[in-house]
C-alpha cells in the first residue's frame, strides 16, 4: 500500500513537470501552429538561471525565501527568452512551417551547445532546499516533499491559466484563435499580438518546470530540457493539440503510467508511454479533448 502511494505521488510529481512543459507547447501550437522545438531551451534557461541565481544573485540562495527568489529569477529569464525568440525568430516566419521547424530545432541545438560551453556537459548539483528533502508520511508511505512542491506548482499554473483564458479579453482571443485563427482576424482582431504573450506564458511555465525539476532530480544538465520536451510533445498530442485541460489529463496519465511500469520493469515505462500515444492516435486522433483551449 505504502509503495502504491509513493509511486502515485512520484508519478503525479512527474506529471506536474510534464504539464508545465506541455501547457505552453499546447497553447503555442494551438494558437500559432508553431511546433516549438526550442521549448526545451526555455526549460533549460529556467533551470540554469535558477541554479546561477542561487549561487550569485544577491538575496537569493539555495534554501528558503532565497531559493524562491532564485526560482523567480529563473522564471523571469525563461519568459524573457521565450518572448525574444517569438519576436526575433518566429514572427518573421509565420505561415512558413518548415522554416519554423528548422529555426526552432537549430535554436534548441545551439542552446544546448551554449550551455555546454558555459558550464560543461556534466550534470551540475542543484540546490535542494531543506524542506523539499524532508519526508511526509501519508498512509504509511514516506514521501519526499518535493513531489508536493511540483504538484502544487502545476495545479496553481493550471488554475491560473484557465482563469486567464476564461475571464480576460486576451484569453478569449486566444481561445477563439485556437479554434479558427483567420476568423479572429476577420473580426478585426490583431491575433498576432496574442502570439508573443502565449510564447511568454509558455516560456514561464517551462522555466518553472526547469527550476523545480532540478529540485526533483537533484542535478541539471544541458540536455535535460530536450529529454523532457519529448514527453511534453507526447502529452500535447494525447491531450488534444491546443488544450490546456487536455494537457493536464494527459500529463497525469503519462506520469502515472511511466512511474508504475518503470517500478515493475525498469525502462519499460517509456515504451508504454509511446504505446499509449499510438493507441490514442489510432482510437481518438483528436486527443482527449480536441482542439479547444479550456475543455
Amino acid at each position: 500500500m505504502s509503495t502504491i502511494v509513493l509511486l502515485t505521488l512520484t508519478g503525479l510529481g512527474l506529471a506536474a513537470l510534464y504539464f508545465l512543459v506541455a501547457s505552453g507547447l499546447a497553447l503555442v501550437f494551438g494558437l500559432a501552429d508553431v511546433l516549438n522545438f526550442a521549448h526545451g531551451l526555455f526549460l533549460s534557461v529556467g533551470a540554469y538561471a535558477t541554479w546561477w541565481a542561487a549561487g550569485h544573485l544577491p538575496g537569493a540562495g539555495p534554501s528558503g525565501w532565497g531559493f524562491a527568489l532564485a526560482v523567480l529569477f529563473g522564471v523571469v529569464c525563461g519568459t524573457a527568452v521565450a518572448a525574444l525568440v517569438e519576436l526575433v525568430l518566429i514572427r518573421p516566419l509565420y505561415r512558413r512551417t518548415i522554416e519554423q521547424v528548422l529555426v526552432t530545432v537549430g535554436l534548441s541545438l545551439a542552446g544546448v551547445a551554449l550551455l555546454q560551453a558555459s558550464w560543461g556537459s556534466d550534470p551540475r548539483p542543484y540546490p535542494r532546499p531543506q524542506w523539499t528533502q524532508e519526508l511526509t508520511t501519508i498512509a504509511g508511505a514516506r514521501v519526499p516533499n518535493d513531489r508536493f512542491l511540483l504538484i502544487g506548482a502545476a495545479i496553481a499554473v493550471l488554475l491560473g491559466l484557465l482563469a486567464f483564458l476564461k475571464y480576460t479579453r486576451i484569453g478569449l482571443v486566444i481561445r477563439a484563435g485556437v479554434e479558427d485563427r483567420s476568423m479572429v482576424t476577420a473580426l478585426g482582431i490583431d491575433v498576432r499580438r496574442a502570439f508573443t504573450l502565449v510564447f511568454a506564458i509558455g516560456g514561464a511555465a517551462a522555466a518553472l518546470a526547469g527550476a523545480l525539476g532540478g529540485v526533483f532530480t537533484g542535478a541539471i544538465s544541458p540536455t535535460g530540457g530536450s529529454s523532457l520536451l519529448i514527453f511534453g510533445f507526447i502529452v500535447v498530442v494525447i491531450g488534444g493539440m491546443g488544450s490546456v485541460t487536455g494537457a493536464a489529463y494527459a500529463a497525469v496519465a503519462v506520469g502515472l503510467l511511466q512511474q508504475f511500469v518503470n517500478y515493475t520493469s525498469p525502462g519499460l515505462g517509456d515504451i508504454c508511454v509511446v504505446a499509449l500515444l499510438a493507441v490514442v492516435l489510432l482510437v481518438r486522433p483528436q486527443g482527449i479533448t480536441g482542439k479547444v483551449a479550456t475543455s
Binding site: R95, R169, L172, V173, R175, A176, E179, D180, S182, M183, V184, T185, A186, L187, G188, I189, D190, V191, V292, A293, T294, S295
Partner: protein, 239 residues
C-alpha cells in the same frame, strides 16, 4: 458612386487561374448579389477583398474600399475600417458561448450595439450562455450576422447565408438580412434565387473567371434564358 471597387482582380491558387480580371463595383446602399455557378470564384472574390486567400495564392488587381486603396492590407485593419464579414461556413467559434462570440467581435473604441443585435435576434440573448457549437445551423447563422451588426460597418460581405438551412429558417434569415440591408449596404453571395429576388437590387454574375453580367437584379432574374445560361438553373423561383 460605389463603396467597394474591384478592378482587374486576378487570382491564381495552386496553379489554377480562378479569377481572370474581375471588375465590378458595389453600391453604397442596398444589396448587391454576387452570383455564378458553384466553384466559379465567388467566395474567392470575397476572400481576396479581405486578404484571406490561402498562403501561396497569387493576387493581382486593385481593391478600393470607400475610395481608399486597400489591396493587400492586413485583414484586421480592413475589418476595423468598417468591413464586416460573414463567411460561408459561418465561422462561429463552437467552443465559445454565444455571448463570448459576440464579445469577441466588440471593437476597441466603438460602443457595441447589443440593442440592435438582440432586437433583431432575441434568440441570441436567451441563449447567451449556450455553446455556439450546440446551436442549430440557423441560429449559428444569426450569431454570425449578429457579430457583424455589433459594430457600425460601412459594408457587409455575406457568403451564402442560407446554405444548408431548412426552408422555414431560410425565410427567417432572409427577413433578417432584409432588415439589415435597410441600414448597411451588402455584397451577398447567394445560390437561392428566391432570396436574391427578395433582397437584391443589383447583381453581378461571374462566369469562367470573368464578370459576365452587372446590372439590376430583377432584369437578370426575369430573363430566363440568361439566368439559365449564366447560373445553370431554370426560371428563378418566386419567394
Amino acid at each position: 458612386m460605389t463603396i467597394l471597387d474591384i478592378a482587374g482582380l486576378d487570382v491564381r491558387i495552386a496553379g489554377s487561374h480562378i479569377l481572370q480580371g474581375v471588375t465590378f463595383g458595389v453600391a453604397p446602399q442596398g444589396v448587391t448579389a454576387l452570383l455564378g455557378r458553384n466553384g466559379v470564384g465567388k467566395t474567392t472574390t470575397l476572400k481576396a477583398v479581405l486578404g484571406l486567400l490561402p498562403r501561396g495564392a497569387d493576387l493581382a488587381g486593385e481593391v478600393r474600399f470607400g475610395g481608399r486603396r486597400v489591396t493587400r492590407q492586413q485583414t484586421f485593419k480592413l475589418v476595423r475600417d468598417g468591413l464586416g464579414y460573414v463567411p460561408e461556413d459561418r465561422g462561429v467559434f463552437g467552443g465559445l458561448t454565444v455571448a463570448e462570440n459576440l464579445r469577441l467581435a466588440e471593437r476597441p473604441g466603438a460602443a457595441p450595439d447589443y440593442e440592435r443585435v438582440y432586437g433583431l435576434f432575441p434568440e441570441l440573448q436567451r441563449r447567451g450562455r449556450q455553446r455556439a457549437g450546440t446551436l442549430s445551423g440557423g441560429q449559428q447563422q444569426m450569431l454570425a450576422i449578429g457579430r457583424v451588426l455589433l459594430n457600425p460597418n460601412r459594408l457587409l460581405l455575406i457568403d451564402e447565408p442560407t446554405k444548408g438551412l431548412a426552408p422555414k429558417v431560410v425565410g427567417e434569415v432572409a427577413a433578417a438580412l432584409h432588415a439589415v440591408a435597410q441600414v448597411v449596404p451588402m455584397l451577398l453571395v447567394e445560390q437561392n434565387l428566391a432570396v436574391v429576388r427578395r433582397l437584391a437590387q443589383d447583381a453581378v454574375v461571374i462566369a469562367a473567371g470573368k464578370v459576365a453580367y452587372t446590372g439590376p437584379a430583377p432584369d437578370l432574374l426575369d430573363y430566363t434564358e440568361k439566368t439559365k445560361s449564366l447560373l445553370g438553373v431554370g426560371k428563378a423561383d418566386h419567394a
